[in-house]
């Protein structure tokens, strides 16, 4: 009887092993690049695979699946041309920035898994608002209004795309390692989750927030401080502090918050916030389009 069990056990193990034999474990959680060599988008898809999926484990989605959007809004897909441009720009002004500053493999491990581009914003005409980006569960970042981007307007690109990416990515980071408890005390009782949109920029600054949205809740305050510091040129940051000084010393509060973010990123993530800021500023001042748009300029 024992023998029968032994034979059955060995047989089961063999069957089990045989069934695993065909599996191919790749470095990415996503499927291999397009198999149709004649596809219209094959060159771009392969480029995305080579420059996003392989090095960063990111599915860079430019085709729009209506099921993946909020049915309460009308949106349209991004154009192939803008998808191509933004994909290159994001490498230059975002991914390569972290690669230059962060520890090896940092983005591959912690970065978003999916980036979805949408051509239009999500417009709520009755409230007069438009949604330009959103992050879902630290996995997916959706960037909107891409078809309307002026690619040589760095301020607009920052506002709608790169600041949003730093913002959403910072959310991912503080969801993995909690933000400093002391930060939560700095503006406690001042946050206004329902009425922040009625505050203008100067009022927000003077209350110690880098933007009106930072005044909505503590976690938005935290990520807005990081994102704004990274993308804002020094002159703009200094101007904000000057205006923020006002009567309530908003500048001191912003500086205090920035210091906390700086220390937290250094301690928890080995990230130098000032180095990130410097790298972004250097790249923003050197927008060499031939370099940016040349395929595979990063040679990873």
């Amino acid at each position: 009887m024992k023998k029968i069990y032994q034979i059955l056990f060995i047989g089961a193990v063999m069957v089990g092993l045989a069934s695993c034999k065909g599996d191919k474990f790749t470095e990415s959680i996503f499927i291999d690049p397009v198999e149709d060599k004649d596809a219209f988008t094959v060159e771009f898809d392969n480029w995305l695979y080579e420059h996003y999926t392989m090095p960063y484990n990111v599915d860079f989605r430019y085709r729009l699946d209506d099921n993946a959007t909020d049915p309460n809004y009308n949106v349209v897909p991004v154009s192939m041309g803008m998808a191509d441009t933004i994909a290159h720009l994001a490498l230059y002004l975002w991914y390569d920035v972290y690669d230059s500053v962060a520890p090896a493999g940092f983005l591959k491990e912690n970065g978003p898994r999916i980036i979805q581009l949408i051509g239009s914003a999500m417009i709520n005409a009755s409230q007069g608002t438009e949604k330009l980006g959103q992050a879902e569960g630290g996995i997916k970042i959706t960037l909107m209004k891409i078809n309307k981007m002026e690619t040589n307007n760095i301020e607009q690109l920052n506002e709608y795309i790169f600041k949003t990416m730093h913002h959403e990515f910072s959310h991912i980071l503080h969801q993995k390692k909690t933000m400093p408890k002391e930060f939560e005390q700095l503006s406690a009782g001042v946050y206004d989750p329902d009425g922040w949109q009625y505050t203008n920029e100067v009022e927000a600054w003077q209350k110690g927030f880098v933007s009106p949205y930072a005044g909505s809740q503590v976690r938005e305050d935290f990520v807005e401080t990081i994102a704004n510091y990274i993308v804002k040129p020094d002159a703009q940051w200094e101007h904000m502090l000057e205006v923020a000084a006002g009567e309530k010393d908003g500048d001191k509060l912003i500086i205090q918050k920035l210091d906390m973010c700086r220390s937290w990123l250094a301690e928890k993530w080995e990230l130098d916030l000032d180095a990130l800021h410097e790298e972004v500023q250097m790249r923003q001042n050197d927008m060499d389009w031939d370099k940016i748009m040349s395929l595979g300029f990063m040679n990873k």
């Binding site: 219209f40 209506d66 009308n74 349209v76 897909p77 192939m80």
Partner: protein, 425 residues
Amino acid sequence: MKAKYLFIAIALTCAFCACSREEESLFDKSAAQRAQEALDNANEVFSSAANGWEMIYFANPESEGYNVLARFEKNGRLIATAKNSATTGNQLLSDSSSTWAVKNDYGPILTLDTYNKVLHAWADPQENGVGLAGDYEFLILHADPKFVKLKGKKYGAYYFLYPLEEGITNEQYFDEVAAMQKQLFANSNILRLHADGKEYMLHGGNSGIFSLTAVGELPNEEEEDVYPFATCRNGIHLLYSFLSLEELQYELKDGKLVGDKGSIEQIAPAAYVLQYINFSSGSWSIDITETCDSIKNVIATIDEKLKEVYTKNKKKASVQSLRIKKTSSKKLVLEFSYYGSSSKATTTMNYVFDVQAEGEALKLAYVEPEDENAQLTLDAFPSIGDLLKTLTGTYKLTPVQPLNPSLGLRLDNSSNSLLWFNMAK
């Protein structure tokens, strides 16, 4: 006892017999196989049209119809071309930089998943969040190489695709559509539909949405009966069929728009002329250059007299135009305009005419000058009286385009074959 066992045995046999027959499947393939086949078929069909598809595009169920030429290439590229006032500023616009795909989502779906300047223009939310409320994902309701029917996933309008014959260029296609639009709807042309034993007026053809009113009945202002449609190269294509008629396509044949079960026609030309004068406050211009010798000669005589009187404007003094119209005092008149006085503007005088339809013919009868000035002008230029008398008569009307007589009518005097003239709106 035996009987009891026998009964049980028979009952069991029957029961097992009932169970022994497997229920036959309605389909010979699994749901997954059928879904995949539907996708493969749709993919094949879309890319099968060598010269692409003529797409009759209704952005939403209330939208006028638009013409789009769409080529779905096997490699996933979509090339679309359109020309209309709503999205292309009446310029021919082509975009060959976007993609299409067929996917499964409660049935096969056609998705236009990257932005196409032509086809996404209707779906773009613009400033108000809705834009022209068009779709870019469509349920594939029917797909064969000769016809595809789609339904917008969000707004639910229907879209119709027909293969475009080879050899037709984009420019040719849209030129032919524009020519058909002019032929059918120029000058706010009103058509007549015969359906359900009644006659209906079809207004608003220029807007791409017909308003339907039964002849002799007042329009229902609270709930207007409207029918969106697109003009095609050979006729019109409706979004929904008229009343109880089931057809969507009407082809121009022998001066009618003909469907399988109904037709769209025009009323008799004489009645048409009066309809436009009486109901549309329109006027009919008589062509004073392309006309018979009798009328030409009378006009030449008037011109000579004008030159004699208006010596300062000798070179310019001449008859400018003749129009049949209704004045503000609701009199039907012949408006006689001439250039001659010292002022730079033309001078117009009205002469009352009795204009009536007599069966297929139109009867024109001069009555009197409308006012004192018209009388004084008539006294000064008696040959105007000759013109008014010459025009008086009964005319047979021949439209250049039977469905749209406003584009041009030839009037032949019934009792004098040498007397004729042309007029148009």
